[in-house]
């Protein structure tokens, strides 16, 4: 009788531990997904600013915003994903390719030339941003298959 009661309690506790553990995983998944969604929106914002800059609006203010976003702000967001256990090691190379696409040519220069949406510079910005964006999604999919 006593043994049966003990077994029942053990089963209840064990069951609770499993449910609690699964809840924690779900909550953590939601948190990471939320952070990742914010990151994707931020990348969209940078992409829009970059196209604006290169196609019609090469102001010092926009150049400053782009440098700020493509350096510290983006890195800080990446660090948060890292803290939340997402593997972002391979993203650093893609981050610099994106920064390079936006700021290596026709940027902070006295010889600025307005680009059209079909120019290689713009296409390269779109491609490198997509690569970075996709890399985050892959990391997420690996972490939560």
């Amino acid at each position: 009788m006593v043994l049966t009661q003990i077994m029942t309690w053990l089963l209840i506790i064990f069951g609770w531990l499993i449910v609690n553990h699964q809840n924690n995983i779900r909550e953590k998944r939601k948190e990471i997904r939320g952070t990742l969604d914010k990151m994707q929106l931020f990348l969209d914002e940078i992409e829009t600013q970059a196209i604006q800059y290169h196609t019609n609006q090469a102001t010092n203010e926009l150049a400053f915003q782009l440098k700020r976003n493509l350096n510290k702000k983006l890195r800080d967001k990446l660090d948060i994903l890292k803290i939340r256990s997402l593997d972002v090691k391979t993203s650093y190379s893609l981050l610099f390719k994106f920064r390079q696409a936006v700021t290596l040519k026709n940027f902070d220069t006295s010889k600025y030339e307005v680009q059209t949406i079909n120019d290689d510079l713009i296409k390269n910005i779109l491609l490198t941003k997509d690569n970075l964006s996709q890399e985050f999604e892959k990391s997420f999919a690996k972490r939560y298959p």
């Binding site: 440098k67 350096n71 650093y92 610099f96 920064r99 290596l104 940027f107 902070d108 006295s110």
Partner: protein
């Protein structure tokens, strides 16, 4: 004097504090704190005097790649080898992508 007795001094350059919080552009025509100026005032003297330096990259408002390419890739175009640059300069940043980017510019300039 053999190589082991050459005086090698180590200094630190903090781009944000020693040069500008807002580095921008390649050439003088692009702005007052451009990559060409940083290279001439800070990097070339170090390489010519066999010093070793650590460059702190983190205290600026951010870099455009054009500044980084001109400052560091430009050293190779002036005749310094990537090995010389690597021996003389160590980079510090919380952002590994920044260091990777600079190293790529140095190697690319050597291959061009």
């Amino acid at each position: 004097m053999n190589a082991s007795t050459i005086n090698v001094t180590t200094t630190n350059i903090d781009i944000g504090k020693d040069f500008s919080h807002y580095p921008a552009g390649r050439y003088e025509t692009d702005g007052p704190f451009n990559g060409e100026l940083f290279r001439a005032e800070f990097l070339v003297p170090v390489l010519n005097s066999h010093q070793q330096i650590t460059i702190e990259l983190d205290n600026t408002a951010g870099y455009g790649s054009s500044f980084l390419e001109e400052a560091f890739g430009g050293l190779v175009r002036l005749g310094y080898s990537s090995a010389q640059i690597k021996t003389a300069i160590t980079f510090h940043s919380e952002d590994p992508s920044l260091i990777e980017e600079i190293e790529e510019y140095i190697l690319d300039a050597e291959q061009d």
